[in-house]
Symmetry: C2
Subunit: 346 residues, 2 copies
Amino acid sequence: MSEERRGTLWRTAGGEKKTPPPVWLMRQAGRYLPEYREARAKAGSFWNLCMNPAAAAAVTLQPVNRFGLDAAILFSDILVIPHALGKRVMFEEGTGPRLEQTFSAEELQRDPAQWREKLSPVYEAMDLVAQRLDRARDLIGFVGGAWTLAVYMAEGEASKDQRAARLWGYRNSQDFKRFLSVICDCVAAHLCAQVAAGANVIQIFDSWAGGLPEKAFHDWVISPTKSIVARVKESCAGVKVIGFPRGATQAGYELYTRETGVDAVSLDTAVPIGRAVETLGGRVALQGNLDPLLLVAGGSAMADEIDRLLAATADVAFIANLGHGVLPETPVEHVAEFVARVRAGR
Amino acid sequence: MSEERRGTLWRTAGGEKKTPPPVWLMRQAGRYLPEYREARAKAGSFWNLCMNPAAAAAVTLQPVNRFGLDAAILFSDILVIPHALGKRVMFEEGTGPRLEQTFSAEELQRDPAQWREKLSPVYEAMDLVAQRLDRARDLIGFVGGAWTLAVYMAEGEASKDQRAARLWGYRNSQDFKRFLSVICDCVAAHLCAQVAAGANVIQIFDSWAGGLPEKAFHDWVISPTKSIVARVKESCAGVKVIGFPRGATQAGYELYTRETGVDAVSLDTAVPIGRAVETLGGRVALQGNLDPLLLVAGGSAMADEIDRLLAATADVAFIANLGHGVLPETPVEHVAEFVARVRAGR
């Protein structure tokens, strides 16, 4: 990690309250940007773009250059992990990503040196961004949470009720825990390598944490995340960790912020911000949680909600962001308005 | 409503604590039952089955006869409302239901007498069930929540982020509220007609309540539900109302139980039962919330979770049920085990 990179996101994630708050957006480099669509067309596919260091670095910097955001997040995908573990990942237009095959626990016993080699384009991209991004801005690396990756790896694709992974866990909990544990090894190694290449903040996206029963949430989200964060904190001094257990219950968010060791928590669209400030704000920094569809809608509905978010978080360490990723149909002007309104302090 | 029907579900929904608790399952009449699959094949389609009173009544009674459940829930579908409002509803194997066309607010101005006529097969089915179901058991009517119906009616099909309905609400909130209000009229009338035909308990399924921002949850879930419940309570003395704001946050469940006037609340799979007992149990009866995938998995994972649910709810009015509907792949024996374990008190 660059020793010198200590921007407002890093500071806020560490618990300092900043006014105005730092602002970035999940999936800020993406299809809503004309310059992204151009780069994507040139690369030929989403995956090529992820795996071409120069192109990935260029795309990473696009929204920072356009909007002056406080942080860049490396353009990559959570499915680089199953790729590193040996399965072909397919991104096709109009459908979600799919894996060529699902995994069994045995198949995961792979050599960390092999993982690193397959993921070297990601680290090269991070290194390029680190060289180009000015020191005042933070640089975010990310991974999928172990549970979310397990959902893809057990099902072969996104699944609204995570059927294959849940059934595996219910029917053979020990075997499933071993599976999660190998994923954790790979995830922790991937995070540390991103930090070594220049990231000073990391985010763990557990996009499928919602809907899990209490015990499953504990065993499959809290425990693996705790193990990942512990290893990252041990190996990469100074990095700040943001966790995103999307769709968790309030009790789930409380447990997550108490148990996992994250510095900050990203709140999904449904989390009432006032309640989060009360119950989580004393413990970790908060990030979120404008509905991406409000960013699409714009107008007074968006403006009112931004004002409400800023007012509710005035006394805590807060990072302005969405409750989920930017949608492709988002008007670029609305993103500029969002950033300007956050910066204006209302 | 039958004046004489006062079973354990009705009593528990009204706040009496029963040991063992009453037990029924959402979507208890469905594809996991061989006798259902036979009836379904004979009817030719799901929709035919819904709209044939004799067949719908027979299917309604199947799980009650097989498992001795404490209540029957009429075999029907939440999309009878868009059907009543004039759109063709299509159920095709392998995909979710779809509407032929989406709705605009203007199209909804329809004559209540017309609605009732189009829905008369539903009331005939209810009447047949009421005649055949023994008086010790309760008879449940149901509707979709206004928001959930609006999601289908705006989108034409289920939508993971409810994009069309949310955008409509964000961009033109007054127009969208009028749309919800007309749906509420139809929903309230449909509930009252079900009660008149024999239902003594009703459930409002707001299956798409999850993920909504705080203000949207208030405007699109709480307010319409409050208006529906008030009209039902006014018109149908003695009926008990169960609400199911699936995926709501804890603050959302709290508001729902405080504001809407429901007698009982059905908890989705993610709600930690102990927390629900603490924060909601003093106000309303609780129903739920075994993961339907645990009912598929069976074994000790299912048994342990049932025991945990029963132990946690020992001191409150509780209705044993799932956190969502029974899945088609559920082994029939697991349902029998679930019922037996609840009845055995562990």
